[in-house]
């Protein structure tokens, strides 16, 4: 007779560390999508403000210069750095999305392309960040 030991039957199954039943959740595909969405929204709100502040040139040169002057401080300098970081990711990942959609083997290489996006992002930011930090430092003086 087979004896079913109750403790082995009722023992709760440990939840998988990663959500099961999908190859998407928790992987590159999901994170690239999350980042693409967040950066897209951030850039949109930046652009709303950006068109409004640029429109100040139609009021008077001193009105525009006055507002832009308040932007020229380290906090805004770091904000610009963050904006560029967001736009560079969104742009490269957007090109990745386009390649996934139109390139015949794009879906096969989507994961590799995600890491290429990250690598390009690192290279561009490694070039831009020191430049921007230098500009910020000379502003402080």
């Amino acid at each position: 007779m087979v004896s079913l030991r109750p403790e082995t039957v009722t023992k709760p199954v440990a939840a998988p560390r990663r959500p099961a039943g999908t190859v998407y959740r928790g992987h590159e595909g999901m994170w690239s999508w999350v980042l693409h969405r967040i950066t897209g929204v951030a850039i949109f709100f930046f652009l709303l403000v950006h068109v409004l502040d640029t429109a100040l040139v139609r009021i008077s040169p001193q009105t525009y210069n006055g507002v832009i002057e308040t932007y020229k401080n380290p906090i805004m300098g770091l904000g610009e750095l963050a904006l560029v970081a967001a736009i560079v990711f969104h742009a490269f990942n957007g090109l990745r999305i386009i390649l996934i959609d139109f390139w015949s083997v794009g879906t096969k290489h989507q994961r590799a392309m995600f890491w290429i996006v990250i690598a390009l992002w690192v290279v561009l930011m490694a070039g831009f960040a020191p430049r921007q930090l230098m500009v910020i430092m000379t502003e402080v003086q």
């Binding site: 969405r37 897209g40 929204v41 850039i43 949109f44 652009l47 709303l48 068109v51 409004l52 640029t54 429109a55 040139v57 139609r58 008077s60 040169p61 001193q62 525009y64 210069n65 832009i68 932007y71 020229k72 300098g77 610009e80 560029v84 736009i87 742009a91 957007g94 090109l95 999305i97 386009i98 959609d101 139109f102 831009f128 430049r131 921007q132 230098m134 500009v135 000379t138 502003e139």
Partner: protein
């Protein structure tokens, strides 16, 4: 035995708005990479970086129709691209029909108003306005324009 499959009932031919939105996101994206990277390079990296930005700097750029077209294209493409993306996101998260319609209405109004405003700013820009405070203008540009 041959199985006959009923021909699919094709609906009345309809313009597929969502498909064109999908294509637009991709086409505008490709152009925007060039426009925005160029914009950021000229305004943020070249010369003295952001520090150089002021009224005279813009006057210098918009004295050239090339940059007027550049900025105008960027304005239209980016706002429609961003607005359409925000519409997708609203449809994903806002399930209440009234809130959904209100939010998308607000996005549409913002995009239309800013496109009109931004276009007017570029096309009616005066590099040497009479109300300018001393020291704010690009003097050599205004001289060259006979102002």
């Amino acid at each position: 035995m041959a199985t006959t499959i009923e021909a699919p009932r094709t609906a009345r031919p309809r313009r597929n708005v969502e498909k064109w939105g999908w294509i637009y996101m991709r086409a505008s994206g490709v152009v925007l990479v060039v426009l925005i990277f160029g914009h950021l390079f000229i305004n943020l990296v070249a010369g003295e970086g952001v520090k150089q930005v002021d009224f005279a700097f813009i006057a210098g750029k918009w004295a050239n129709p090339f940059w007027m077209v550049w900025d105008g294209l960027m304005l239209w493409l980016a706002l429609i691209h961003g607005g359409n993306g925000m519409r997708t996101i609203t449809n994903d998260y806002v399930t209440n029909p009234t809130a959904n319609r209100l939010l998308k209405g607000a996005i549409l109004v913002a995009v239309v108003l800013l496109i009109i405003l931004g276009t007017l700013v570029i096309t009616t820009f005066d590099p040497c306005p009479p109300n300018a405070a001393p020291g704010t203008l690009d003097v050599s540009l205004c001289r060259a324009l006979g102002r």
